[in-house]
Symmetry: C2
Subunit: 267 residues, 2 copies
């Protein structure tokens, strides 16, 4: 499978989506279309939509909603006018009864008129802001995926949805921890401020060297692990809550939007 | 009818709610329980709840959701544990088919197990922050209600709900306009940054001296009118969209919560 380095540099979000739509390109989206918001994707039948919308409202840190697309519509008119949600994400995941059932590269066969799509903020947005503030982001330096952990922090349940909060971790030099809190606090629409700083055991993480998802990263002497709520939390909720059908993006293979990161800073 | 000055000073939010519950006190809540969040209230039958939740998601400035209470539950467990939403607001409004049908002081007769309650942020929270920042708030100086205007700014429709955005206006000395933007930007959960600064006509306001709701306030030489999205917008949506039943608080008679204003600042 391709990695992001095989994608020509300088493509606009719309050009990238057309490449994914054409089907010849399946690649993680980290680093692509820098400066533009990338989104987690959750697609559910209408019968589950109220419960999931309420789950997001009650858990704004892991599930900050950027847009909810009307039932049956394939176009996120706010975030990416003209896009097709069935084809423009590089890879999807299909969960049936809480179990990963397939990883298709489009949803042409699966699409139905009662499906409602939710676009959820992604930490790529605040990572750009961290780097601009001179704060190192280790997994980007390592060219790996961010380490993610299933915590002992419960989400606020809503209807059928419940489950543990998933967090991502970035080690930050002690002298820059305050600045990292400030920078990410300005982006509540993309997870915002951290949920925990320091001791992993305090939020139920047994072994910081063995993330449940993504790749481990080095924590150097003098660095403090900082934990942010993660947009994979809905997938953990799918596994815990076992809805008949839930479609998401494949981890790291995000939906690339036309909106700029800077539009999502509150100050 | 009583005004706020008839309420003993120094009551906690819980004590205030008990006074309202007992029924002997009907008063606007401006200035009561300073430092604690007050909320706009919208109560709808479950059949309308998804559309309204989506309306709030799509219109976060006028409709910033603080809590959604499960169907039939009378207790906002996040904002005011132990409270009773049927009795603890000083006065309610009942809209039927988009028309104001009654202004009861409790909902004991009207309550039904399919009702879902939405608590929405209120600008009282950021007004305290403005005053602390040395920015005058004219309608508080005048002891009147904030002036509100129906604008030409459309809300993003969701299901049956649509209608114009309602804004509140506060005149601010030109030298403090930037600071007013900064201070209120820190509170996205209670309407956040202004939606417009300056010329009222640019957002469809014909006569700044004649607000559609609330009281007019003086704009002194050198002051600029600043407009913020207003929590009365759902009531305008009720009138435009004509749902069979929608219950709200009566303007100025808010639900007083146990959460502190400072908890809702993002930075």
């Amino acid at each position: 499978m391709a990695d992001s380095s095989s994608v020509p540099a300088g493509l606009t979000p719309a050009e990238l989506r057309l490449r994914f739509r054409a089907g010849g390109l399946v690649a993680p989206t980290s680093g692509l279309a820098p400066g533009f918001v990338q989104a987690n994707l959750v697609i559910l039948p209408q019968a589950l939509a109220f419960d999931f919308l309420l789950f997001c409202q009650r858990n704004p840190k892991p599930c900050p909603l950027l847009e909810v697309v009307d039932a049956g519509s394939i176009e996120p008119r706010l975030m990416a006018p003209g896009a097709d949600l069935r084809t423009d994400t590089p890879k999807y995941r299909v969960y049936r009864d809480g179990t990963l059932a397939a990883e298709p590269i489009d949803l042409k066969e699966l699409w139905a008129d009662d499906l409602i799509s939710f676009l959820i903020g992604c930490s790529f947005t605040f990572e750009s802001a961290l780097i601009e503030a001179g704060i190192p982001v280790r997994h980007i330096e390592q060219c790996s995926n961010v380490p993610m952990y299933i915590t002992s922090i419960p989400t606020a349940p809503a209807g059928v949805f419940h489950g543990p909060m998933v967090v991502s971790m970035r080690p930050v030099p002690a002298a820059q921890v305050v600045r990292a809190v400030q920078v990410t606090s300005r982006f509540p629409a993309v997870h915002g401020a951290p949920v925990h700083i320091g001791d992993p055991a305090a939020i139920g993480i047994r072994d910081i060297a063995r993330p449940e998802l993504g790749d481990p990263v080095e924590i150097r002497p003098g660095e403090v692990p900082i934990f942010w709520a993660c947009g994979v939390t809905p997938q953990a909720a799918a596994m815990a809550s076992r809805p008949p059908l839930m479609i998401t993006h494949a981890p790291g293979h995000m939906f690339v939007t036309d909106r700029r990161d800077a539009e999502y800073s509150v100050l």
